[in-house]
Amino acid sequence: MAFLRPTTWPEALAAKAELPGAVPIQGGTDVMVEINFDVRRPEALLDLTRVAELARWSETGGRLRVGAGVPYSRVIGELGDRLPGLAQASRTVGSPQIRNRGTVGGNLGAASPAGDSHPPLLAGGAVIEVESAARGVRMIPAEEFYLGVKRSALEPDELIRAFHAEPATGPQYFSKVGTRNAMVIAVCSFALALHPAERRVGTGIGSAAPTPLRARAAEEFLAAELDWAAGLAPAGLAPGVLARFGELVSEAAAPIDDVRGTAGYRRHALAVMARRTLTWAWNDYRKAREQCA
């Protein structure tokens, strides 16, 4: 097995173009598990840890560009205020060791339906920047990135460079149910983001369908129901709205029974998480409006 260690992004792209079978390795927290279990024996490993720019993030023109190699611990520490939903999700990943090594880029590369960064990326409207030596950059909205169980829109000669997202303009929440309280793959998860400027709602469902997905009907329903201008108005969330939102989120999922939980429990838990995150988010939103007023 060859071990390729490019030090620049163009070198990395060239290596991938030359050897599309090379498996990129960033934190290695997925790749090494598969190799240890002999799930695959790639002809080459393409080590991306020396490509410095992958581990950087920047903010320009009100948009964040976060390198694929930024580990969860830095997402939490450095981007927690700008990407609170993703930071919350990052806190639930594995253990401190895994959060130090594991990256959002790797989570995207693996494209597991249970990956914890996917729901907040979907809810936050993130766009994935991928690139190949031959065709250059493609910008893929998160929603179009996930194609099937562990299948993504990435082409064999492409690498993930970064993801782009707007810093939060409204409350964002992430919720995850596991079979225990840490070191756990999600039984199911849910992310919610309110985008007050556009009066839009973003959602993301994890581990409850072959791919991470948005609950579009729930988003539209809620965007229309919410009293965005509420301000000091007494209007809380009508119980009917909460319940319906939960139902619509639950209906958007296509869960299965597996070792971690039953389909029935997943549907139930999604509705609960949807109601919970909405309650938290709406309370924050109203508080913020009150303070402005």
């Binding site: 225990r180 309280n181 840490a182 756990v184 070792v259 429990y265 609960v272 998480m273």
Partner: protein, 733 residues
Amino acid sequence: MAIGKAISRVEAGDKVTGAARYTEDVRVAETAHAVLLGSAISAGRVRGIDTRRAERAPGVLAVITHLNRPDFAAVPPTPYTAEGRMPLVDDRIHYAGQYIAVVVAETREQAEHAATLVVVDYHRTSPVPTLDAALSQAYIPRENGLARVPSEYRRGNAEAALAAAPVRVEEEYRTAALSHAPIEPSSTLAYWEGDRLTIYDSTQSVHMHRPLVAIAFGVPEDRVRMYCSLVGGGFGNKSYSWPHVFLAPMAARVVRRPVRVTISRKQVFTGTGHMAATVQTVRLGADQDGRLRALIHDSVNQTSFIDDRQETASAITPYVYAVPDLYARIRVTKVNTGTGGAMRTPGDSAGAFALESALDELAHRLGMDPLELRRRNHADVDPVSGRPWSGKQLLACYDQAAERFGWDRRNPEPGSARDGDDLIGYGMAGGQRTEHQRPAQATVDLTDDGTAVIRSSMVEIGGGGLTTLSQIAADGLGLPTAAVTFQHGDSALPAAAPTFGSMTSGSTGSAVKLAAADALRAAIDLAVGDRRSPLHGADPDDVVAHEGGLRLRDRPGDGESYRALLRRNRINTLRGDGDFQPEGEDAEHAMATFGVHFTEVRINRYLPRVRVVRHVAAFSIGRVLNAKTARNQAQGGIIMRLGAALMENQRPDPVSGRFISPALTDYHVPVNADIGEIDVIFVEEPDTNANPLGARGLGEICAVGICASVANAVHHATGKRVRSLPITPDKLL
């Protein structure tokens, strides 16, 4: 007094710095590495096995299959030989993961690679995949099966008494298959020098397992030397010799080199046993005042097509409560799975879930406090033999734990306690474990530098035996614990009791106590007979051990150090021998350990995950040897069983019977974040009826009763009775 003191483990420093040497850490020159290839199917035959590519792979020394293996001399006896079928004897496949080839190579990686090149042509037959599929075929094993306990017990006429009882509970309870999942995968390193075999094995008992290997290879026992100093967690999966233990010496013979087999992390789940799943029914009959009239406890567990091993779930039931009419039965049924093993706490953990859940149901039906129900049925004497109990402090355990927990604050109405969206439940359950004892030997050497050395083959499995037994020797000789060292884990040493079945404290501990007393006696005899000693001519009974030497009981000023005594007499070491022989069947007292658990759960009413926020347990185990290691042991046992209560489930695939999650990725045990406050009380009473030391076992009783305590708390919180473990949220929707 060193005994009872809360001191840290003597080997703790070595363990945290990495200096401690486990079996895998042993290095022997020229060692080759064997990898065991497991069957991909769970029932059938190996029609053909093509090893040619594997044999040609780099570094490969041999590929051994049923076609080219050397013969075993004999089949060593069960149950300590874990499977009654020797590995590779024929082409039959009884369970997935069963070893069908051994690949030996220069390095482990080469062997692993070559194992993937072995091509197996399977003849598949249709497997019996699950306990449910086999339930109707349940039977009582002949010759009592591997567990060697009676499969049936009857007193009075339980059926008639049940029919006549005014209040009845009759329910079915299920426990899931559980994996031991220790950190250390089993490892065996073997080499031959002529007909002498040296074997480093991760075993819970070198003296129980050495004879098995000797028989299998047809050599006298004294030609086999088995070592195991430290075990990195066993919980019973290293209390039997599993097939890899026999394959390592076999491979060493074939390649004429030392061979190491370390099973893979996944093979820990399929190659070293599990606690079998059970389906149990409990029928209780009682008077209106809660007095039990009848008890029927029937259990069926899955076993392999190789062996009849019972999970002895109802074996303890006849001994627990004062019930006049009782019937208990244990049956097995064949499933295409590996043979189950002993797992902390064999039989009793699974059995207590059923029995103690049923008692809670009865209490609820009677409108009676569940603790009061147990008090009313307290067995003042052993209900089976009529003998008095030795040191039973269960009623005091009830009182102290209930008070610490705040049981009197419990409103009996299910669903009555809430905190915001959390439903709060209080539950309790009891536990009992028969106390086992075995002969054990140790020596204690007093040395002329004033220290002592214990010699006994005990294996330290993490429970703290090296520490507690050092404390015993220290007290026996009037030395600080730091002046005692311990040679252990070697079959050339005096035979300890095995480090399973909670026998270290009671049996090996007593041997150490006797050996220390013998060494002390030898020192006293030496002193009183020595003209130059200040103790010369004293009555030996007036001389006591004190601060590194001897002195007169009544005149503390008169005495001398061991060092002075031995040096003057030019004696390097004075050896004391300890030989503990348990009383056996005709003992005057019945012996058991007892416990009670109280659990507080909190369950969010929308996402009904059970969180155990508080747990209080009290145990009656005689004398506590070390407050710190005992507390640690008890907390560990409780946490282990909280896993069984809430998440652990080694589920079979419904078609093939293979375990679905033979990996820690999905076989979840509790992590730190799952554990609430755990408080442990010991109601001490030195129990010298049991043994000279006055201590009984703790390692197993601490893991009995927890699942029922949690399930009962869940019922109190929610009104829902979950009779099937683990209690996952979907069961509470």
